[in-house]
Symmetry: C2
Subunit: 345 residues, 2 copies
C-alpha cells in the first residue's frame, strides 16, 4: 500500500491543473449496426453476447450476409470518452484510424463532441479503419465481429506524453492487449501517468482476451493500474476463480478501486476493505446492450474526477449505462449531464 500511495502521488496540485479529466487509449472502430435473428447467429456460428476478432475475408463474408446496417463511431474507450463529454468532462483519445472515409467519420464524431482526438490518420495504411459488425437480436443482446484493421498497429510511439501526463486519469482498453506493441504502449502510458502523479484505469474488456493473456493482465493490474473496470465473466477469468466472490477476494487490495458490473444486478465497487453495492438504474425498454460497460465506466470516471464518493461514482455509471441501452448504438443520444443532474437530486 505504501508503494501505491507513493506512486499515485496524492498531489492535489497536479490533479487540479490537469488539461483533461480522462485520456482514453483504445481501438478506434466504426460500428456497423444491424438487426439479426437467432438463425443468423446459428448459421454463422456466432456466440451470442461475445466479441470475436475476425480477419478481412471473414468480415466481408459476414457483412455480405447480414441485413442493412447503420454506421456509427464506436470503439470501447472512445464510447467512454463520448460519455464523459456528454457528462461535461474534458477528454482526450488515442487510437489509430486509416486515412479513409470511416477514419474521417470516427475522427469527426469524437471532435464534434469536444474530445481532443490526439492520433493522426495513418496515411497509406495497409489496412483500413477498424470495423465492428454489431448484430443486435430481439432480446437486445449484441454479438460483435471485429476486424481491427489499422487500429492494432498502436504501439509505444503512439502514446502522447502530453495528453497522458495532462489527464487526471488515463483509461486503457483491454481489447488492445492482444499484441506486444500495445502491451508496451500500455506500460509506457502507465509510467508517464504515474510519473505525473496521475491515475491509471483499465477495463478488462473481454473474458477471452483476459484468458489469452492472463499472466500479463494480472501483472498489468497488480503493477500498473489503480482503477479496474470489469464485468463478472472477466474478473472470474482473470483469477480463474470459482465464482464472483472468489474473484473479488483475489482482486481486493491489488488495486485502489475495482468497479465490477453485473448487468441487471448493478455493480460492486471494491476499495481496500470496503465494498459498495450499486443498484442498476431502471430502463423502460432495453433495446441494445452495446456500450453498457463503456458508459458505466464513463459515469464512474466522471464521478471520480469530480471528487464524488464511490457509491455516487457507481450511480452515475448506472445512469449513463441505462441511457445507452435504451436505444440502438453505443454512444449517448441524450445530454448525460442533464440526466444525471435530474436523477441525483
Amino acid at each position: 500500500m505504501v508503494r501505491r500511495l507513493h506512486r499515485t502521488g496524492k498531489k492535489a496540485g497536479a490533479m487540479t491543473q490537469a488539461m483533461f479529466d480522462v485520456c482514453g487509449v483504445g481501438n478506434a472502430i466504426v460500428d456497423v449496426l444491424g438487426k439479426a435473428d437467432e438463425g443468423f447467429l446459428a448459421r454463422h456460428a456466432l456466440a451470442k453476447g461475445t466479441m470475436t476478432l475476425v480477419d478481412a475475408a471473414r468480415i466481408e463474408t459476414l457483412y455480405a450476409a447480414m441485413g442493412p446496417g447503420v454506421e456509427m463511431s464506436g470503439g470501447s474507450a472512445a464510447n467512454t470518452l463520448a460519455g464523459l463529454a456528454s457528462l461535461g468532462g474534458r477528454g482526450a483519445y488515442i487510437g489509430k484510424v486509416a486515412d479513409d472515409q470511416f477514419g474521417r467519420v470516427f475522427a469527426h464524431d469524437l471532435r464534434a463532441i469536444g474530445v481532443d482526438y490526439r492520433s493522426r490518420p495513418v496515411a497509406g495504411a495497409e489496412a483500413p479503419t477498424a470495423r465492428c459488425l454489431v448484430l443486435v437480436t430481439a432480446d437486445a443482446q449484441r454479438t460483435m465481429q471485429t476486424f481491427l484493421g489499422v487500429s492494432v498497429t498502436l504501439g509505444p510511439d503512439d502514446i502522447d506524453p502530453e495528453a497522458i501526463g495532462g489527464a487526471r486519469i488515463t483509461y486503457l482498453e483491454g481489447y488492445l492487449f492482444d499484441r506486444e506493441p500495445a502491451k508496451a504502449a500500455f506500460v509506457k502510458a502507465a509510467e508517464i501517468a504515474h510519473a505525473a502523479g496521475r491515475k491509471v484505469a483499465l477495463t478488462l474488456s473481454d473474458p477471452f482476451c483476459v484468458d489469452r493473456h492472463r499472466a500479463a493482465f494480472q501483472h498489468l493490474v497488480h503493477g500498473h493500474v489503480d482503477i479496474v473496470f470489469a464485468n463478472e465473466a472477466e474478473i472470474v477469468s482473470l483469477y480463474e476463480a470459482r465464482d464472483f466472490d472468489g474473484a473479488i477476494a483475489r482482486l481486493r487490495g491489488q488495486c485502489e478501486i475495482a468497479a465490477v458490473t453485473r448487468s441487471g444486478e448493478g455493480s460492486v465497487v471494491v476499495a481496500g476493505a470496503t465494498t459498495h453495492t450499486v443498484s442498476a438504474e431502471p430502463v423502460a425498454r432495453v433495446v441494445d446492450t452495446t456500450g453498457a460497460g463503456d458508459l458505466y465506466a464513463a459515469g464512474f470516471l466522471y464521478g471520480l474526477t469530480q471528487g464524488r464518493d464511490l457509491p455516487t461514482c457507481g450511480r452515475i455509471g448506472s445512469i449513463a449505462a441505462a441511457e445507452v441501452i435504451g436505444h440502438y448504438g453505443a454512444r449517448p443520444e441524450t445530454a448525460l449531464a442533464r440526466l444525471v443532474a435530474a436523477r441525483l437530486r
Copy 2:
C-alpha cells in the same frame, strides 16, 4: 389520350411477366444524419426544409461544424426501392457509387433487402460516393446539404435495358435532372420502358430543381411520363401556378396519374377527370420527416403494381410515409408488408 393509351400498352401479358415491379433511377447517396439547432442553420445560412447542392469544399466545412453523425444509405429513389422491398415488391436500382467505403455501404444496404442493384462501383472515380448531410431540427424538419460526387456522372450508358424493360414501372428521380447526360438517360429509360409496354413514373423531388429546368421538366412530364409524384411546392413550381388548385388544373390530363403529397394534410391523386383525396396516417410522434415523400411513392407504386385502386395506393403510401417519419432515417425500420396488412384490414 390515344397516344398515351397506345404507348403504355395495356399489355397485361407483358406486365405479368415482369422481372421487377419497379426499377428506380436516382442519385446513390449515403446520408450523414445529425441533430442541429436553429442557430446552426442560421450561422451557416441553411434554408430549413430544403435540399441544397454543395461542392466538396462546402460539405467538408459543414461536416466539420456539425455534431456527431450516423451514416445510413439514402438517396430518394433508393429509399423508395427500400420501401418497396419492405412491402414485398421486387425492385431494381440504377445509380452510381465510387469504389470506396461509402459506396460499399450503399450497395450492401440495397442488396441486403433484396433490391437488384444494377450499377457497378466506378473504379478509380475522380469523385467519391455522394454524401448528404441531413440536419434534423427539434421540430422534426430535415435540412439537406448534398455533395453529389460520382453520382452525377450518370448518363445514357448507365441505363440498363434489361432492368428497365423488365420492370412494370420505371421510377425516375427528379434530383438527377440537373445535367444533360442525366436528362438524356431519363429519355432513354422512358423510351425503353414504353417500347416494352411498361409505365414510367417521375418524382419532381425538389422545387428548386424544377425551377431551374421548368421547360425540360414539363416536356418530360407531358411527353414521357405516365405517373407523376410531387409535393405542393414542386407542382406549383412546375406550372408557376398561383396555387395548388391552379397547378392541379394544369397537370390534369398531362399524365395518367398524378399523386401530390401535402404533408400532414395527406395527398391528392388525380387521374383523368377524377380526383381522390387521401388522408394522412396518424403518427404518434414525428421525429424526422426525411424520406416521407420517398416512402409515399414506395407505397403508391407497390399498390399500383399489385393492381390496387388509386385510393388504396394512396393509403399504402400514407402508411409507409407514417412509418418512416416516426424515427430517424429515411428507410423503414419495420416490415411495411405487415404494417399495411394490419392497417388495411
